[in-house]
């Protein structure tokens, strides 16, 4: 894995999500009554019947951008691929893509891989989406 994610720590609202990433699960909220999948950042209504559930961790690229981060020493800029993934369950997820910055990623099938965001015990694993073929091959 070549992708580097800067350290992220959990807070109360994101704890259940990061419990999932720690064991290789992309968790979404699901409304029990309708089966609808909701973004994990959804602010729960006390009257709502939401539960955490493991999603497939697959999706397709809705859009992508290659961010150029200028090197401090004046060298070649780092090219970071970010994008929006439409998850198989419907919600969109904005994330790092571990993909060729020169490739056409339009509607590319992708799969989540979980990358440690830092060396400390409180640095959570963060989902990064890679081309599904490559991610499957690496398994």
């Amino acid at each position: 894995m070549t992708v580097r994610i800067n350290p992220v720590a959990r807070d109360e609202e994101s704890a259940a999500f990061f419990d999932g990433t720690a064991i290789g699960e992309f968790r979404l909220l699901r409304r029990r009554s309708t089966g609808e999948y909701l973004d994990p950042r959804t602010v729960p209504d006390p009257d709502d019947d939401l539960e955490w559930t493991a999603a497939a961790g697959t999706g397709t690229v809705v859009s992508w951008s290659v961010v150029h981060k200028r090197a401090r020493d004046g060298g070649e800029p780092e090219r970071v691929v970010v994008g929006i993934v439409e998850l198989a369950e419907g919600p969109w997820w904005w994330c790092r893509l571990d993909a060729d910055p020169d490739a056409d990623l339009w509607q590319l099938p992708v799969r989540a891989v979980f990358v440690p965001s830092g060396p400390d015990p409180d640095h959570e694993k963060v989902p990064v989406f890679a081309p599904a073929e490559e991610a499957d091959h690496a398994r």
């Binding site: 992220v8 720590a9 959990r10 959804t42 951008s65 691929v81 439409e86 994330c95 790092r96």
Partner: protein
């Protein structure tokens, strides 16, 4: 619906004053000081005293201090209306709308609307101007930054890419907007960047967030701008040609970015533009000058589409049509150079140029026909839109 053109002029609001501070890499004054200076200049421009102001709407950019303390800074007594507003880049247009409603309702007679910001610090790179706003690296708020997203540049780049892939819009077509606006800026003494550029310059400029090159992105500026809104009747007695507020609209689509939505495809301009034109009793063919919010080239392209200057998805071809944009072009768009080349004061950039053009005070860049001027504001990641139709016809 009866358009405002058919209602008596005495019930209408008009813009009677415009105040601009020094703009761009101007170091020293705080945003709060820019705000006070802009209001003073707007009052001077209108030919009134500060004590004539009985309503005040204030809006800050990214730097603090532009708030309700402005009343005391200006020594204003007994205001009848006073509010701090925030709808990001759509705020300036929205302020004029609320000011117009207050004037027409008799709540206030003379309302100053002001925006100021001072994100640039001397000796600090322009690109780092907004760097102080990083969230702490915990929870949801930390995920995007930690994953490599770089603020509005990457969000708008994702929106633009979706339009490009859906409709075939190209980087060269976006570049046509940058080139045209720079040609206008060359004629604008207020503009920060006045050296002409070519499409090749646009293509060769470094990438910020692909598909955006540097020349697709707006400037960062320090400064302030204020306008004075009063009744059309009173405005007619003041120092400047009155600019009537003929119509307006807002749209806040409520894009969640959490599930399939119109990000990059359709913006709130699609609602606020037609609403404003209907209120004004005009159609797109009546628009002489369009001052379009252009935090990026793409924002201008999408707004032109959504306002109906061309069909949905045809914006790229439209803006790149030879003879369409730029000085002497068929369509007068962003005649001061916009936020890409002139100055970046959120919605005050298109609004201020609209007032200058409507009054016929554009000097070398003045558009011959300027009776009906369309102004857009856009805020957030295409989240908030405001539209004004301004006019100088009786």
């Amino acid at each position: 619906m009866t358009s405002r053109r058919e209602t008596p002029a005495r019930r209408r609001a008009a813009i009677a004053g415009l105040g601009l501070t020094e703009l761009g890499k101007v170091y020293g004054p705080s945003a709060r000081q820019f705000a006070a200076q802009a209001v003073r200049r707007a009052a001077d421009d209108a030919g009134i005293g500060l004590s004539d102001i009985d309503g005040l709407l204030v809006s800050a950019g990214t730097t603090p201090g532009v708030d309700l303390s402005l009343q005391v800074d200006l020594g204003l007594r007994d205001l009848r209306m006073f509010t701090q507003m925030q709808a990001f880049g759509s705020t300036a247009g929205a302020m004029v709308q609320y000011a117009a409603m207050a004037v027409e309702a008799g709540m206030a007679d003379t309302v100053a609307c002001v925006f100021a910001d001072a994100p640039l610090k001397q000796g600090k790179a322009t690109g780092a101007a907004y760097g102080g706003r990083r969230v702490t690296p915990t929870g949801w708020g930390s995920l995007l930054g930690s994953s490599g997203f770089a603020g509005p540049n990457s969000f708008y780049a994702l929106a633009a890419r979706r339009h490009m892939k859906t409709y075939g819009t190209t980087s060269e077509q976006l570049g046509a907007i940058a080139v045209a606006q720079r040609a206008w800026a060359a004629k604008n003494p207020l503009a920060q960047l006045r050296e002409p550029i070519t499409l090749a310059d646009h293509q060769a400029s470094r990438f910020i967030a692909e598909p955006f090159h540097l020349l697709d992105c707006c400037l960062v500026s320090n400064g302030g701008a204020a306008v004075i809104v009063t009744s059309a009747e009173r405005a007619a007695t003041m120092a400047q040609p009155a600019v009537q507020v003929l119509g307006w609209g807002q749209a806040h689509p409520g894009n969640s970015f959490r599930r399939n939505d119109n990000l990059g495809l359709v913006s709130g301009a699609a609602q606020s533009g037609p609403a404003a034109m209907e209120m004004a009793g005009v159609t797109i063919e009546d628009i002489d000058v369009a001052e379009i919010y252009d935090c990026y080239t793409f924002t201008a392209l999408l707004t032109l589409e959504d306002y109906g200057f061309c069909g949905k998805g045809e914006g790229g071809e439209f803006v790149a049509t030879p003879g369409m944009l730029g000085p002497d072009g068929k369509l007068a768009v962003n005649t001061g150079g916009g936020q890409l080349s002139s100055y970046y004061l959120w919605g005050m950039t298109p609004l201020s140029e609209a007032i200058i053009q409507a009054r016929g005070q554009g000097g070398e860049r003045q558009v011959p026909k300027h009776d009906t001027v369309l102004v857009s504001g856009n805020g957030g990641i295409l989240d908030h839109h405001s539209t004004l139709v301004l006019g100088t016809e009786g």
